[in-house]
């Protein structure tokens, strides 16, 4: 017997809708903290002079670091999920992919927007599962797309 779909028309309507832009800061302290947390030993992520010698404007972002969203205590971060009611409460991170188009360095101010690129469902060992593929586009202060991050969230 075919199960009724958990993806409603209301949920489908959200696919492709861009979130409000969010400001993402890229600074030396955060780059060093991220690099240290991963365990990078290359001085390019810690020493500005080394970074400049190697052709970067300033400390470059280590792989997977795309800046830190500016935190506002008063309000939640912009989300493409506004108006989106999932039937599930539990979330697993299903995967991450980052594509780079330009170097991202300390001092850059990046703006990100996120959209839900696709919704699908499947029967998993944990029960029915909603698979949400999102896409976040990062633009620098010159308006250039510097990176795109694609994420998969699993709700069940």
């Amino acid at each position: 017997m075919t199960q009724p779909s958990i993806i409603t028309d209301e949920m489908k309507a959200v696919i492709g809708r861009e979130s409000e832009p969010q400001t993402v800061e890229v600074d030396r302290t955060a780059i060093r903290m991220f690099a240290r947390a991963v365990g990078h030993t290359d001085p390019v992520y810690y020493d500005v002079e080394q970074a400049r010698k190697r052709g970067y404007r300033d400390l470059p972002c280590p792989p997977a670091y795309l800046g830190t969203p500016v935190f506002h205590p008063a309000g939640a971060a912009p989300s493409p999920f506004a108006g989106f009611k999932s039937p599930f409460k539990r979330v697993l991170n299903g995967g991450t992919e980052v594509e780079y188009f330009e170097d991202i360095c300390a001092g850059d101010v990046v703006t990100s927007t996120t959209k839900i690129a696709n919704l699908s469902e499947r029967q998993a060992s944990l029960g029915p599962m909603l698979i949400i593929q999102s896409e976040t586009t990062y633009r620098n202060q010159q308006g250039k797309v510097v990176a795109i991050m694609r994420g998969t969230a699993l709700q069940y």
């Binding site: 955060a30 903290m33 991220f34 240290r36 947390a37 991963v38 365990g39 990078h40 290359d42 390019v44 190697r54 280590p62 792989p63 997977a64 670091y65 830190t68 969203p69 697993l92 991170n93 299903g94 995967g95 991450t96 992919e97 980052v98 594509e99 780079y100 694609r150 998969t152």
Partner: protein
């Protein structure tokens, strides 16, 4: 860093140097702060067990970043990571080796760049691929 690797020196099937990581709980706390992911299953054992896990688990995104570290170390000063991603298929735990590995699956020249495609993954001590994925890097040419 290791000696610079060049596009001409790489062929399909080559395995790149593996990177073995082993996370202390302290490293997971550092990652929580560095990445902004404060979900308690990664540093609070009681909380993690309350959700049905056997203990705290390594962040998926940290394993992704480890794959990035492996690529960064391999491509040398003149290389660039263009794209890399993985799926989180299996959980990894602190104080256990996480082996990051990669194998070249193809190479091409495009838009003036020398691109190398790879399969990348993390492996647990049982040899299971817990985060399989793919990557594209640009390497310098000897030419």
């Amino acid at each position: 860093m290791a000696e610079q690797v060049y596009f001409e020196d790489i062929k399909e099937g080559d395995e790149i140097p593996k990177l073995v990581k082993n996370c202390s709980s302290q490293q997971l706390v550092m990652w929580a702060a560095g990445s902004g992911d404060f979900y308690q299953i990664h540093y609070d054992k009681d909380f993690a067990q309350g959700t049905g896990l056997k203990g705290i688990i390594v962040h998926g995104a940290l394993k992704h970043a480890f794959l990035g570290q492996m690529l960064h170390a391999w491509i040398g000063e003149k290389g660039r990571v263009k794209k890399f991603g993985c799926q989180y298929r299996g959980m990894d735990y602190p104080n256990q080796d996480i082996s990051c590995r990669g194998v070249v699956t193809g190479k091409r020249q495009e838009g003036g760049e020398n691109l190398v495609e790879l399969d990348v993954w993390t492996e647990n001590p049982e040899g299971q691929k817990t985060s399989p994925g793919t990557a594209v890097v640009a390497l310098p040419s000897r030419g």
